[in-house]
């Protein structure tokens, strides 16, 4: 990660951290703050999943297991041992990391059937942990657990402000980690593992260690974010924790946004969570899963590489669609929440990105892509080399 990227993240973080202060200035419902916290939560979860499963290609269905271990670590530590809540976040992250390391050690050791064994194992672990929590009165015993609001210095504002800012910090940490990994040698190694693990290993990549590190980072983020989320849900129960919704959501979010780039899960989480939340809020909760299934099918058909790659080439179109949609809805005086307007605009943007390139070219020929081709560095040994422009294609990564 370059210094410029790092500073950009910090600026974005500070700007978002100041959002709760808007309430004093303008009409900003508390609900929107809660909504934004949830977006941060899902950005963290999807990013956590993507660091292992998106980058290295090892599909995990066990996201809920790591979230659950984090949640229950906090619930148990605060209930039985009265440990300070803020300390339990680190403990929750550590416990989830431990689970990831154990699971990784078992499944990554096997040379054959690597991906399949891994997927099945992660699927089973969530179920097994739910059973353990059910059987153990120490953990849950089927009663559920209440996580009490911790004491905190008043400078952090209201309780909602605190949760919002903690969610923001988690998301920021996760996304910065994903960005740093993607641009590092380590990230390169993970992408190579996804493309061809044997070749990556034969070219000097310590594949076992890389997968373990990626899984550990993923587990830590999932567990720590799960722990923070206990403040929001305040009541922890087994069915709500070890649910299949969590892995399905993170897979859907990362796939829609694009699994090759840290921005993918961020975009996917914003779109999918907004959609899900509006459907539930509008009384369509019963059919929301049908709609999410349709979104997944359409994504695979029209956006196989995800929103982010399309956004890079069509960001002007996307911006125009978004701004016009928001403006028109405001002018028409479309009733109801800003969130609904936001969702409608998002859906339109996604649709505009999903239009196959050939239809867009009919309207307006796209600029030749080679214009942006990264050039070859000119060094003494390569001065004589020539590159035929038409032979070079720009690869958008």
């Amino acid at each position: 990660m370059t210094r410029r990227t790092f500073i950009s993240f910090l600026i974005a973080g500070v700007a978002l951290a100041l959002v709760p202060n808007l309430r004093g200035v303008a009409d900003f419902p508390v609900y929107n703050l809660v909504f934004m916290y949830s977006v941060f939560y899902w950005v963290t979860q999807a990013t956590s999943w993507n660091i292992l499963s998106g980058y290295s290609g090892y599909f995990s269905f066990g996201q809920a297991a790591f979230v659950g271990v984090g949640l229950y670590t906090t619930a148990v530590l605060t209930a039985h041992y009265h440990v300070n809540f803020f300390l339990t976040i680190a403990a929750a992250g550590a416990m989830s990391t431990l689970l990831a390391v154990v699971l990784g050690f078992v499944s990554f050791r096997l040379r054959s059937l690597r991906g399949e064994v891994f997927t099945l194992l992660t699927l089973i672990v969530a179920l097994a942990l739910a059973a353990v929590a059910q059987l153990s009165d120490f953990i849950d015993g089927g009663q559920g657990r209440t996580v009490r609001a911790p004491d905190y210095p008043s400078v952090f504002g209201s309780y909602n402000d605190l949760i919002y800012r903690m969610g923001l910090v988690m998301a920021l940490v996760a996304v910065m980690a994903a960005c740093a990994i993607q641009h590092s040698k380590f990230g390169r190694g993970l992408f190579a593992i996804r493309d061809d693990e044997d070749v990556a290993e034969a070219l000097g990549t310590p594949t076992f260690r890389y997968k373990m590190i990626a899984f550990a980072v993923s587990g830590f983020l999932a567990g720590a974010a799960g722990s923070v989320n206990s403040l929001q849900v305040s009541y922890v129960d087994i069915d709500g924790t070890f649910t299949f919704i969590t892995p399905l959501f993170v897979i859907l979010m990362s796939t829609l946004g694009g699994r090759n780039h840290w921005m993918g899960p961020v975009l996917g989480a914003v779109v999918i969570f907004t959609l899900q939340e509006r459907l539930a809020g509008g009384g369509f909760a019963s059919i929301s899963q049908i709609i999410l299934g349709a979104v997944l099918a359409l994504t695979i058909l029209f956006l196989p590489e995800g929103l982010y790659l399309r956004l890079r080439t069509r960001w002007r179109l996307a911006t125009v669609v978004f701004v016009v949609s928001m403006a028109v809805q405001t002018m028409v005086g479309a009733s109801g929440a800003v969130l609904t307007q936001f969702l409608i605009s998002l859906v339109l943007v996604v649709a505009s990105l999903g239009v196959p390139t050939r239809y867009l070219e009919r309207v307006r020929p796209l600029r030749p892509a080679s214009a942006k081709t990264p050039g070859r560095p000119v060094t003494a040994s390569v001065v004589n080399a020539t590159i035929e422009p038409e032979q070079v294609i720009h690869v958008d990564r």
């Binding site: 641009h183 590092s184 040698k185 390169r188 190694g189 992408f191 190579a192 996804r194 493309d195 061809d196 044997d198 070749v199 990556a200 290993e201 034969a202 070219l203 000097g204 990549t205 310590p206 594949t207 076992f208 090759n260 081709t373 990264p374 070859r376 560095p377 060094t379 040994s381 390569v382 080399a385 590159i387 035929e388 032979q391 070079v392 294609i393 720009h394 690869v395 990564r397």
Partner: protein
């Protein structure tokens, strides 16, 4: 210019020439009862081009897979520069300086040709940074004439280019021993000639080569030594012209009725 250094290099090379750079002793490899290698002894010396020939299923590719660490041998030892490397992980063996290519090219399909080659430079013994690796990669692309397709993705280039990409990527890892698994299969006569020339140039850059090849014409042209495997055992080892005249080699290769 630096006479001292040159003298030094020469003396090291004379030392090396006597000792094998890569050696396997009584190497056995069994896959759930199938004995793919039945006690192979082979010593490769610096500067050689050893051709590994034999009928399909004779254990040539298995030998390469075992030497590169992809399979752990059932029994026997592998020694590289006097050091026992049996059972080490493939990435560790690669970093020591044993490289390989695959019969069917296996480029990273989501990375460009340039990124593929840079990848190898990033993960070799001296682990270059991403930017340094890309700079270094251009030299290997020049060497294998892939510069014009540097920014293309592997599925967009032709078979010969993909085979050359295998070579470029293997070279970027800076191997001292390079094992080439059927680099010529599927190429037309002109491409074969070009590839043979490429292998010679790699050899001239002081890389010891083990080459698996079926084309006898090429083997006689390239190899300084020929090793024949049959049913997991070493049948013959010697100068290509001599080995190819041996009746048992002809029988193993062509079948009994031609003998």
């Amino acid at each position: 210019m630096t006479a001292e250094r040159e003298v030094g290099t020469v003396s090291v090379e004379t030392l090396d020439r006597n000792a094998p750079i890569l050696e396997c002793r009584k190497l056995r490899m069994e896959f759930s009862g199938v004995r793919a290698l039945r006690g192979v002894d082979l010593a490769v010396h610096p500067g050689e081009i050893v051709a590994l020939v034999g009928p399909n299923g004779s254990g040539k590719s298995t030998l390469i897979n075992v030497l590169s660490g992809m399979f752990k041998p059932t029994a026997g030892r592998i020694v590289f520069r006097g050091e026992d490397i049996t059972g080490r992980a493939p990435h560790a063996i690669s970093r020591l300086g044993i490289g390989r290519t695959y019969q069917i090219p296996r480029p990273f399909s989501t990375m460009t040709v340039l990124e593929n080659v840079a990848f190898a430079a990033m993960f070799r013994h001296d682990g270059l940074s991403r930017t340094d690796a890309e700079t270094a990669a251009w030299e290997y692309l020049d060497f294998t004439r892939l510069t014009p397709v540097a920014h293309k993705l592997p599925p967009a280039i032709n078979l010969q280019q993909r085979k050359f990409l295998e070579l470029a990527r293997a070279l970027a890892a800076q191997p001292s021993v390079l094992m080439l698994d059927e680099v010529l299969t599927g190429l037309n006569p002109a491409e074969i000639a070009e590839s043979v020339d490429m292998v010679k140039r790699i050899h001239q850059s002081k890389v010891t080569i083990v080459i698996v090849e079926h084309l006898m014409r090429v083997v006689t042209e390239l190899a300084t030594r020929m090793v024949v495997l049959a049913q997991g055992e070493m049948l013959a080892d010697g100068l290509p012209s001599e080995v190819m005249r041996r009746p048992d080699v002809i029988t193993a290769y062509l079948g009994r009725q031609h003998a």
